[in-house]
Amino acid sequence: MTFTIPIDNGDALKNAETDSQRTLYPYVTGTSIVAIKYKDGVLMASDMGGSYGSTLRYKNIERVKAIGKHSLLGASGEISDFQEILRYLDELVLNDNMWDDGNSLGPKEVHNYLTRVMYNRRNKFNPLWNTLVLGGVKNGQSYLGMVSMIGVSFEDNHVATGFGNHLARPILRDEWHADLSFEDGVKLLEKCMRVLLYRDRSAINKLQIAKITEEGVTVSQPYSLKTFWEFQAFHNPTAGAQGSW
């Protein structure tokens, strides 16, 4: 998965330098984020794992952060790029606060800003290797959107990244409805996260659920889901396999 463009101006030394400045592959990655709108705002769930390739190397990474007063940002993909994005947003929020004029950046503005950033980086062949989920509430309106690393962006009532798109979204399409209560929302997210835990090899059993309402952001303490491994199919898993294949 390379993003190198052949640059032929004869200056091999300089090219080596500029090539190494672009993101070519991700190194430490976070897996899925799942988020839904509910009655009072938005709920977002993520696990706390950072994989280094196939190794589950870091187990205490917070992949959901509050942005300003009204938004919540979750990211999957390259963790260092996520941290870079947080720095950009820090500056954005700081400048917004410095105006001190009664206007503030809402989730829609942050989402669009991020879309511009991601798309611009993609155009320079130097992407921020993340899929971002932006949720928030402002003036009673809930907002939930997503931006991918190539700048594709949209809003929906429920979004997920990575494996979440394949495993969690189908569940949400069937079971999400408007005006979920907080408890029902959490149950629904836990159902999705449990499936991801069983089936996504880069998921770990340590998750956080963040909620954002008109009052503000709360990120839960990390906790784990109960899992059940006594299904008949899991007993003696190699029963059908003869020989090495």
């Binding site: 105006w99 004029d101 009664g102 206007n103 950046l105 809402g106 829609k108 503005e109 669009n112 511009r116």
Partner: protein, 273 residues
């Protein structure tokens, strides 16, 4: 003010702490024909007097749309005003593109004051913009009306008038401004047109003589057509003596000594409107 040895450069202070070039620039605003702005809680109305160079020419545009939620009326050097309007349009559209959200008026006005205007009072190779701008707009904190000065200062107003014979309009507005916040859209428009009438010094008010624009909650910036303006004029021109009698006399008295520019429109420099 008279010519003195400290007024050649915009970057020269006088011993009494004044920048004369900046003050002269503010005089240019008074030469232009009147522009008026008023706001209520939910709407902003900008109105101006249509002044034409001669009977043969069309009148100059003094009110510009900056965005769906912001409009600006100018008085002074119209050319300068156009350039600043273009700057404001640019800022507004850039913000919309990045944030998909309308630029708050207060922020636009500060940028205008700092970048466009104040800078020009601090560089010896520049000159201040000779135009005053009445910026009216709507954002999440409500309806706003600001006046941007060539000096780089800006103030927020409930209602204001600039340009020649604006004192007459200001007197009218001062009597009525307390009720503007709660005014309906129609009353606000009527007050704007009445204020314009004050600046005409007895000339009959016709819809061809003024331009009126409105913006508000659920109403993007747009101009009122001649018909609508004439309809509003008709509602009060029928009873000019009764209610406005005291007002007329007051206006005459107030307008006479103050506005030097208003005395002879023939003396107005061609570039100013």
């Amino acid at each position: 003010m008279f010519r003195n040895q400290y007024d050649t450069d915009v970057t020269t202070w006088s011993p009494t702490g004044r920048l004369f070039q900046v003050e002269y620039a503010m005089e240019a605003v008074k030469q232009g024909s009147a522009a008026i702005g008023l706001r209520s809680r939910s709407h902003v109305v900008l109105a101006s007097v249509n002044k034409a160079q001669s009977e043969l020419s069309s009148h100059q545009r003094k009110i510009f749309k900056v965005d769906d939620h912001i409009g600006v009326a100018i008085a002074g050097l119209t050319a300068d005003g156009r350039v600043l309007s273009r700057y404001m349009r640019s800022e507004s559209i850039n913000h919309s593109f990045t944030y998909e959200s309308p630029l708050p008026v207060g922020r636009l006005v500060v940028r205008l004051a700092d970048k466009a205007q104040q800078v020009c009072t601090q560089r010896s190779w520049k000159r201040p913009y000779g135009v005053g701008l009445l910026v009216g707009g709507l954002d999440e904190s409500g309806a706003h009306l600001y006046y941007n000065c060539p000096s780089g200062n800006y103030f927020e107003y409930q209602a204001f008038a600039i340009g020649s014979r604006s004192q007459a309009a200001k007197t009218y507005l001062e009597r009525r401004f307390e009720s503007f916040n709660e005014s309906s859209r129609e009353d606000l428009i009527k007050d704007a047109i009445l204020a314009i009438r004050e600046t005409l010094q007895g000339e009959t008010l016709k819809s061809s003589l003024c331009t009126v624009s409105v913006l508000g909650v659920d109403e993007p910036f747009h101009f009122l057509d001649q018909e609508s303006i004439q309809k509003v004029i008709d509602t009060f021109e029928k009873v000019p003596e009764e209610e406005e009698d005291g007002g007329e006399a007051e206006a005459e008295a107030a307008a006479a000594p103050t506005e030097q520019g208003g005395a002879g429109d023939q003396d107005v420099a061609p570039m100013e409107m």
